[in-house]
């Protein structure tokens, strides 16, 4: 792939993570965490997005992010108290940023959000009048504001400085004292730029021409390139940049605007803005300001990392021999220095973050992991094949190899576990998208909804995660549209006006169980039943238990919405969800409590790739039952079997009447069956059943192979696997088997003898 496109791809991937972090932090703040670290994290996220967007020329995204970032910065600097901040607005802005990222990704035109921009511009406006005026006072001595607040001192100080500069540009009327100097910068005066790019400039896909080109050409008075740093030819690495530039400007641009010009090409420590006429006057303060960040190097990890980066630069500033031009031996004015220093922390943050991430994780193409996983699957099959081969060897040879085989199988299993762990991802990836959905829907529907997420860190195979988004979205939409009442209705029903939807993920019996619970009105059974009757899904004189009526919600073409809305109600809702979920080898069920709410429960396998199975034989065929569904096994002979009046065989198990199914009959096994064993298994709803089989062959990890890929759905089985002898065995699906048993085999029941 074209390296730039690849970089861009990576940027968008990172954007997704950053957006997730942004939203999460804002959400936490919205819920009242009040943690300045959350503010910082949100700020860093949006800043990183802006930086990347600039590098890739996504102007719409840059513009919006910039304003958003500025608004968040008011919080960071403490100019707007965290408690007073409009997080709802920020969350909507985060959504807008997500839209812009998506637009940029698909090369679509970005939608302008003037409403949000205007709202963002307002942030900090009112408090500014009061707060901005006092703050300039301590500014020249950054140490003073550093001591206040619980933010790490260096950062707080720097944040304040940014705020001041911004306050100045935003409200020139409030200027006094120190603030007048930058104001003067707007009247076309001499500015000296010292550009000292780091040696990795080219590797960041930036070249000096681009850097200089970002300045208005008509303002440039002089450019001097300093090549004194270029190393001798023999030690010169052409990919390093050793050029230094001195640029004289006569410009009307403010410091901030000048900074903006370099925002995407240079880190803030790579250039310096100097006003020659004030250079000497303010020198003492500047030299104090410069080393200041080093003092704070003991703060939180990433901050110290940021400051660690700042440290050397500050030292560099103090070392005359690195300085190319002797003219500026005196340190720059505070205005410039402080602005530079203030800007430093933020723009460097993404770099530090990247560095940190590289240390702990590697970004791997999912395709590669899939290949790895397939290969491991093949090894598992080969290994079980070997085990069977070895078993048939003469004893003395067998004994020698057996130990090795044992080790091999242990290692194979370990390998498999590790590969699975690589693929495992917290459901957070999907859950994260839901708050936005809820927010947007709540607005559309005019309902007040609180979304509670639990168990976001529950890990599931990546393949499952990807498939979860649609069903979950649908379920939440359903709950919001049909389940929850409007605030008025809720109040009338004696409930709080704000509805609650809980989205919970947990591991249970080798499955991941995800539930969506709302405290709304529950399923309107009468209406549902009437509708089902009118569509002929239920006979007019058929009596259904309330629970059975609830299950009708999954029937195709049924919607209880009185009016078809944009959100749901087209009748393609829950039946699609059910089909999606079932195609993943999962189940969905619903429990409704009229007037009090409704709960949808999804149960999915943890992975689509491997499962622990019990291999059983029935007649001439072997099957695999997922261990997770097996409760216990017992001998058929020792179990009294009774018959219900209508013929169903049952057994008593732990005092319960449990239906018994003969696997050979249900699955149409070949050959004569001779049932010896009863396997007590559990279906999705937690009901137990007995399955009579001939023999338990063993227990092993099996690689799940799709039957749908080359054939189609097989009743009674969720998938197939390959056993050690290379033959295929079906993986039984208890629920599907029960339905098969209930239907009595239906079509294509044939007496044809199928060779095994």
């Amino acid at each position: 792939m074209d390296p730039l496109a690849e970089l861009k791809q990576t940027f968008f991937q990172e954007c997704e993570e950053l957006l997730g972090a942004l939203e999460q932090k804002l959400q936490a703040l919205d819920e009242g965490s009040g943690d300045p670290e959350d503010v910082n994290a949100a700020f860093r996220a949006i800043h990183s997005i802006k930086g990347g967007a600039g590098a890739f020329g996504c102007t719409g995204l840059v513009g919006f992010s910039h304003v958003f970032e500025a608004a968040l910065d008011h919080l960071r600097s403490g100019r707007v108290a965290i408690e007073d901040a409009p997080f709802t607005l920020f969350l909507r802005c985060a959504d807008a940023v997500a839209d812009l990222v998506a637009a940029a990704r698909n090369d679509e035109p970005a939608s302008e959000r003037p409403d949000l921009l205007a709202a963002l511009e307002q942030v900090g406006k009112e408090p500014q009048a009061a707060a901005a005026v006092p703050t300039p006072a301590p500014a020249p001595e950054p140490a003073a504001p550093a001591a206040e607040g619980d933010a790490p001192p260096g950062i707080a100080a720097l944040g304040n400085l940014i705020a001041m500069v911004e306050a100045k540009t935003a409200a020139p009327a409030a200027d006094d004292g120190w603030d007048d100097e930058p104001a003067a910068a707007t009247s076309g005066r001499d500015v000296h730029l010292r550009i000292t790019p780091e040696s990795d400039l080219f590797r960041r896909v930036i070249e000096p021409r681009v850097v200089l080109g970002s300045l208005p050409a008509e303002d440039i008075v002089s450019i001097r390139c300093d090549l004194s740093q270029v190393p001798p030819l023999e030690s010169l690495d052409v990919s390093d940049c050793w050029m230094r530039f001195e640029v004289g400007l006569r410009t009307e641009l403010s410091i901030e605007e000048l900074h903006g010009r370099f925002d995407f090409s240079l880190a803030n420590e790579e250039f310096e803005i100097v006003f020659p006429e004030e250079a000497e006057a303010e020198a003492p303060q500047a030299s104090e300001a410069a080393p200041e960040p080093e003092v704070s190097s003991a703060v939180a990890a990433d901050l110290s990392a940021i400051l660690a980066r700042l440290g050397p630069v500050s030292e560099a500033a103090a070392e005359p021999d690195i300085r190319p031009a002797p003219v500026e031996a005196a340190a720059p004015v505070p205005a410039a220095t402080m602005d530079t220093a203030a800007g430093r922390t933020a723009p460097r943050a993404p770099v530090v973050e990247t560095a940190k991430r590289q240390a702990v994780s590697v970004r791997v193409d999912l395709d590669r992991i899939d290949k790895l996983m397939n290969l491991v699957g093949e090894i598992v099959i080969t290994q079980s094949m070997l085990v069977e081969c070895v078993r048939s060897l003469p004893y003395d040879v067998h004994a020698k190899t057996a130990e090795g085989m044992l080790t091999l199988s242990r290692q194979t299993r370990e390998l498999q576990d590790h590969v699975m762990a690589v693929r495992a991802q917290p459901v957070k990836a999907v859950f994260q998208r839901m708050p936005r959905l809820v927010r947007e829907l709540a607005q559309t529907l005019g309902k007040e909804v609180r979304l509670v997420l639990e168990g976001e860190n529950t890990e599931v195979d990546k393949t499952i995660i990807e498939e979860l988004a649609d069903p979950l979205t649908h379920m939440i939409r359903n709950s919001m549209d049909h389940g929850l009442e409007t605030p008025d209705e809720r109040v009338a029903a004696g409930k709080p006006p704000e509805g609650t939807i809980k989205l919970i993920a947990e591991h249970r019996a080798g499955r991941i169980v995800i539930s969506v619970t709302d405290d709304g009105r529950g399923i309107g059974r009468e209406r549902l039943l009437a509708k089902a009757r009118s569509r002929g899904l239920v006979g007019t004189d058929e009596r259904l238990a309330p629970e059975e009526i609830d299950q009708l919600i999954f029937a195709a073409g049924l919607s209880t919405a009185e009016a078809v809305s944009d959100i749901s109600g087209r009748g393609v809702g829950m039946d699609v969800v059910r089909r999606n979920v079932e195609s993943l080898g999962g189940r969905i069920s619903v429990d409704s409590d009229p007037g009090r709410g409704c709960k949808f429960t999804l149960a999915l396998p943890l992975t689509l790739a491997v499962l622990e199975g019990m291999v059983i034989r029935c007649g001439g065929d072997r099957y695999v039952i997922p261990i997770a569904s097996v409760i216990e096994t017992q001998h058929l002979a020792a179990t009294p079997i009774e018959r219900l009046p209508f013929g169903q065989e049952v057994l008593r198990w732990r005092g319960e009447v449990t239906p018994l199914y003969r696997l050979g009959a249900v699955m149409g096994s070949t050959g004569a069956t001779d049932e010896n064993i009863i396997i007590i298994a559990e279906n999705e709803r937690g009901n137990t059943i007995g399955i009579a089989v001939d023999e338990i062959v063993g227990q092993q990890q099996v690689v799940v192979k799709s039957l749908e890929a080359n054939y189609g759905t097989v009743n009674g089985a969720s998938a197939a696997t390959i056993l050690g002898d290379g033959l295929v065995a079906l993986i039984l699906d208890i629920d599907s088997m029960l339905r098969l048993a209930a239907s009595g085999g239906r079509a294509f029941q044939s007496d044809l003898k199928m060779a095994g």
């Binding site: 033959l727 239906r746 060779a755």
Partner: protein
């Protein structure tokens, strides 16, 4: 006893212009000769035991493992209404690509690969017994008449006795 004949794509990858000739793999079920375009054949392998599927159509012989991929094997003999093949080691499974799926076709033996001019392909005659609409055309060879199979039809509704013939317009 699994003899695998790999028909690597390199042998047949040159696209045959429709006007020139069709390269056809012919195989036998009993005395009948059938054929399919060579491009659809992925490989030919000896009979291998399959795992039956519960309540599948009669011509669905079962599933087998082809190097880690599970595919269904269809009994052509059953599909054309001659009952089930009593498979032995001499029987052959023709692995074919149909639409986006891979399937196996159980036949008695593979006979030949022949190049026939497109003009030699006749449309399937509207016979009383056209093997239940499974035939796409006929090729007249000197010694034989080859029935070109509509594989998708074989797999979809082969052997479904109840399948009305008229349902296939093409």
């Amino acid at each position: 006893m699994t003899m695998t004949l790999q028909l690597g794509e390199k042998h047949f990858s040159s696209p045959q212009p429709e006007s020139a000739a069709r390269r056809i793999v012919t195989f036998k079920v009993g005395e009948r000769t059938f054929g399919i375009d060579v491009g659809m054949v992925r490989e030919i392998k000896g009979w291998q035991a399959t795992t039956p599927l519960p309540h599948a159509a009669p011509h669905v012989r079962g599933v087998l493992n082809l190097r880690g991929v599970i595919l269904a094997v269809y009994d052509l003999r059953t599909a054309i209404g001659l009952g089930a093949t009593d498979a032995t080691a001499t029987h052959v499974i023709v692995v074919v690509d149909v639409a986006d799926k891979t399937a196996g076709l159980l036949v008695d033996s593979v006979s030949d690969i022949v190049d026939v001019p497109v003009s030699a392909v006749r449309p399937a005659p509207d016979l009383e017994r056209d093997e239940r609409g499974l035939i796409e055309g006929l090729v007249l060879l000197e010694s034989d008449i080859v029935a070109l199979l509509d594989l998708a039809a074989v797999i979809r509704d082969g052997g479904a006795e109840a399948q009305p013939r008229t349902s296939r317009a093409a």
